[in-house]
């Protein structure tokens, strides 16, 4: 039971440090700020305690495949046309396209040209760093078939996710000052956590728009009925008013019979040329701002960079007096007539916008287009008042639990019960200090973990005291009973705690946000419990034995 001087000091220093580092949690925000530069800061609260939004976005694989297929069809067409190879129609098959070459003598030439479309992608960790083609090309009886390769698509999704992370960050920074968390999760998901937001609508509007903007000349032929196929070189898009109206109707109906968004898109209201277009995304814009036009309607004004300005100028100069469609994410926003070439490099997007919409659209355009469409796979929002109440309730529960446990330790153990209570308090301080120092997030289940630790931490003291008592009853002297009691109980303490640790580790492995918080507090609680049992409790008892030399054990 002997503790060397430096060991004694070390143990007290640890407890003092624990007290210091858990201090900010009970200070005012001003005092907290003053201490923050020294690394002494309060616990990070999880979204369930702070209030905020947690959104899980997933790359829309189906949409991505469909986009690739469309792109592929037009690429194949232009490649064969450039090479002057005759072909008999391009068909979409499965996830890819098939093209039939008319003349057998062109076959080899076609093969060479089409091979250029395979799109080798730089590999990543998943593919072992090897280069992967996005498409697989097979030939059969005079025709070629492109198919999207699974590993290629995964690589593509991987890079789309990486690009999107920055784009989301740019967009969300436009919302306010709070620091959001934007992280990749798994292979095709992004999790966004935004603390302190009251309404999720704006956040979702900003992150769900892809932001693909293009200016396309309107075709001369226009559909006369729904579901007509556009002529060659034209593609059909719904216009904003119809699209919004149909979408709203669909939402109102909200039944399985209502058309899906994709079906609504296939009721094109306007055909635009695929050949003559200027695609614009954030990379081509130097700025986009919400504004008003001469009629005081909300519009978005934008400014091109050099390259974009030249392209846009050329497009408008060649098509004066023709209407051109402003297409955003596959929907025609408006189709003004080009009165004169627009050479200044700036322009405006008009449409039937609300002020809120132009604000969001500007943020989206400034950040650039997302390389893929995302769907919201999971969304959890906690209001700030609920979070605050949870913190308060959790604090009260902890205090009541603490006092209750302390009383129940004092009743059977008296003085040694007080020692156990000192250990319990230090345990709590250390737990809070470690959480604060390492910036672990405290969640509501985490508070439950703290309470569970309170209950279970005294277990080690109970084990030790019961053992001491037994040894004493078995006829040992007080000193020897204490000595043996500690030594033999510690093995049991270790065993008992490791089993709980197994559960905590599994919980951490599978859990998401709040549950992880629970696992973290539980695991840290186990470590602090073991630390106090092996050091502090022993030290205090040793000091007591040293100074009081008890002849009997009052347990």
């Amino acid at each position: 039971m002997h503790f060397s001087r430096w060991k004694t000091i070390a143990i007290f220093v640890v407890v003092a440090l624990a007290a210091l580092f858990s201090l900010p949690n009970v200070l005012t925000p001003d005092q907290q700020r003053a201490l923050a530069p020294y690394g002494i800061r309060p616990m990070t609260l999880g979204l369930d305690l702070q209030g905020g939004v947690n959104v899980l976005l997933e790359v829309d694989r189906k949409d991505m495949t469909a986009q690739l297929q469309q792109q592929l069809a037009s690429d194949v067409r232009s490649v064969l046309r450039d090479a002057k190879i005759g072909y008999g129609g391009i068909q979409r098959v499965g996830t890819g396209v098939t093209v039939k070459i008319t003349k057998p003598e062109d076959f080899e030439r076609a093969k060479t040209s089409l091979s250029g479309l395979l799109q080798p992608l730089q590999g990543n960790l998943l593919t072992g760093g090897a280069t992967v083609n996005l498409y697989a090309l097979t030939e059969e009886q005079g025709s070629f078939t492109f198919a999207v390769r699974d590993d290629g698509l995964n690589t593509r999704i991987g890079s789309a996710i990486r690009q999107s992370l920055t784009i989301f960050a740019k967009r969300i920074n436009g919302l306010g000052t709070t620091e959001p968390v934007i992280q990749q999760q798994g292979t095709d998901r992004i999790v966004i956590q935004y603390p302190g937001l009251k309404d999720t609508k704006q956040l979702l509007d900003i992150i769900s728009g892809t932001g693909k903007l293009s200016f396309q000349i309107v075709c001369e032929d226009q559909p006369t009925a729904a579901n007509q196929n556009p002529p060659q070189d034209c593609v059909g898009y719904p216009n904003k008013d119809d699209f919004d109206r149909l979408l709203a109707e669909k939402k109102a109906a909200n039944s399985a019979a209502a058309p899906t968004e994709d079906e609504i898109r296939k009721l094109p209201q306007m055909w635009v040329q695929t050949g003559t277009r200027a695609t614009v995304d954030g990379a081509d814009l130097t700025d986009a701002q919400p504004s008003f036009d001469q009629n005081n309607r909300p519009v978005v004004t934008f400014r091109f960079n050099q390259k974009g300005a030249v392209r846009f100028g050329k497009l408008t100069a060649e098509n004066v007096n023709k209407p051109f469609a402003i297409v955003l994410d596959g929907v025609v926003q408006s189709a003004p007539v080009i009165n004169e070439p627009i050479l200044g490099g700036s322009g405006q997007i008009s449409g039937n916008f609300t002020v809120e919409e132009t604000g969001n659209l500007s943020i989206i355009l400034r950040s650039g287009a997302l390389p893929a469409r995302f769907v919201v796979a999971e969304e959890r929002t906690v209001g700030p008042s609920l979070g605050t109440e949870s913190v308060k309730a959790g604090f009260i529960a902890c205090m009541v639990g603490l006092v209750g446990v302390m009383i129940f330790m004092f009743i059977p153990y008296g003085f040694l019960g007080l020692v156990a209570n000192i250990a319990l308090l230090s345990n709590l301080l250390m737990l809070v200090a470690l959480m604060s120092f390492f910036g672990f997030t405290l969640t509501l289940p985490g508070i439950a973990g703290i309470l569970l630790t309170l209950g279970m931490a005294v277990d080690s003291n109970v084990l030790i005291y019961e053992r001491i008592r037994e040894e004493w009853k078995n006829g040992r002297s007080a000193m020897s009973a204490i000595d043996v009691g500690f030594k033999s109980a510690l093995g049991t303490v270790l065993d008992a705690n490791i089993t709980t640790l197994i559960a905590a580790v599994v919980l951490f492995g599978i859990g998401s946000g709040p549950i992880r918080g629970f696992a973290v507090t539980l695991a840290i609680g186990i470590f602090t419990t073991m630390f106090t049992a092996f050091t502090l409790t022993r030290l205090v008892v040793a000091l007591w034995v040293h100074y009081r030399r008890p002849k009997e054990i009052n347990l």
């Binding site: 979702l204 399985a256 969304e379 008042s385 569970l452 109970v462 009853k473 559960a503």
Partner: protein, 314 residues
């Protein structure tokens, strides 16, 4: 004035646990069968984590008219709408079933509910879980329980004998089964946090079991001639004060959380409170008696000398 300690459990109890355990086995058998039956017939009340769907909690300025809300929101055509009071008369929980149109339809449904309720209510929380995520969460939850049971099996096997490991795991399965039975019976919303509670129950129950096993192993070395049943009784009686005191302390904290911790965490705490009862019961009446059924080696002298030295027991 000196405090004279008061023992909760008198010294030298000689409770015949093993005799009672026949009844205990019988009771546990019936309860397990009942749990399976309840699970099969009633099933668990799966929350949106596993089923997908939407949960919105609101606070109304005046005590909420639950029936009015039910008919109002029921008329929106969003499928099954469940409405219940949530902790206080002003707090309401609204649960929408998973919508047919996937993730976008879920969002639209929330928008519609908000439109109907207007701006006078305070939106306390909104949770939307899409079909794909909920499927994955179910898989992960099942995996977690299986992994932790195997982890425990391996640990106990390593530390003790296989009979102990099996006894521990049987009592774990018993605890898990009874928990699931109770949740089916009372229709407690079964979500991811309840899985966390079950895993914690597993940890707690095991903690208890390990302490008892530790003592049994010690006595097996010490009293080589004592019949197994008496030895188990003796072991259980000697750790009884600890078993009860630790359970009481854990229950004090958990009840404190149950009463003061707020509505959000109540289901989770309830599950853990139940787990402490079941876990304490099972380590005495299930884990230990299994050793009699399976038998255990009596000659522990061959045990490695180093381990005995480490334990340093007289």
């Amino acid at each position: 004035m000196r405090w004279k300690p008061i023992r909760f459990v008198p010294d030298g109890t000689k409770l015949p646990f093993m005799r009672w355990s026949r009844f205990g086995f019988f009771l546990s058998g019936i309860l397990c069968a009942l749990s399976i039956w309840l699970f099969a017939t009633q099933g668990l009340n799966y929350g949106i984590d596993f089923k997908g769907g939407t949960v919105v909690t609101i606070r109304t300025p005046a005590p909420a008219d639950i029936d009015g809300l039910r008919s109002q929101l029921g008329a929106l055509g969003l499928g099954d709408v469940e409405i219940q009071e949530y902790g206080s008369p002003n707090d309401v929980l609204i649960r929408l079933e998973a919508q047919a149109g996937g993730e976008e339809a879920e969002r639209a449904a929330v928008a519609k509910v908000k439109e109907t309720l207007g701006t006078t209510v305070e939106y306390r929380s909104v949770e939307v879980v899409g079909p794909k995520v909920s499927g994955e969460l179910t898989e992960e939850a099942i995996l977690a329980v299986v992994v932790s049971i195997f982890g425990v099996l391996a640990y106990l096997w390593f530390r003790f004998e296989w009979q102990f490991a099996l006894g521990g795991v049987i009592s774990l399965l018993h605890d898990t089964l009874l928990s699931i039975g109770l949740f089916s019976l009372i229709g407690l919303e079964f979500n991811l946090t309840i899985i966390a509670a079950i895993l914690t129950i597993i940890g707690y129950s095991l903690n208890d079991t390990v302490v008892i096993f530790d003592r049994i192993r010690e006595f097996l070395r010490k009293y080589k001639a004592m019949p197994l049943a008496s030895l188990l009784d003796f072991s259980l009686n000697s750790v009884l004060p600890r078993t009860l005191l630790t359970s009481v302390c854990t229950l004090i904290s958990l009840f404190s959380l149950y009463i003061f911790g707020g509505e959000v965490i109540r289901g989770f705490t309830f599950a853990m409170i139940w787990g402490v009862f079941v876990g304490t019961y099972s380590s005495i009446f299930v884990a230990a008696p299994v050793l009699i059924l399976l038998g255990t080696k009596r000659d522990w002298t061959t045990d490695s000398a180093s381990r005995q030295a480490a334990d340093a027991r007289p």
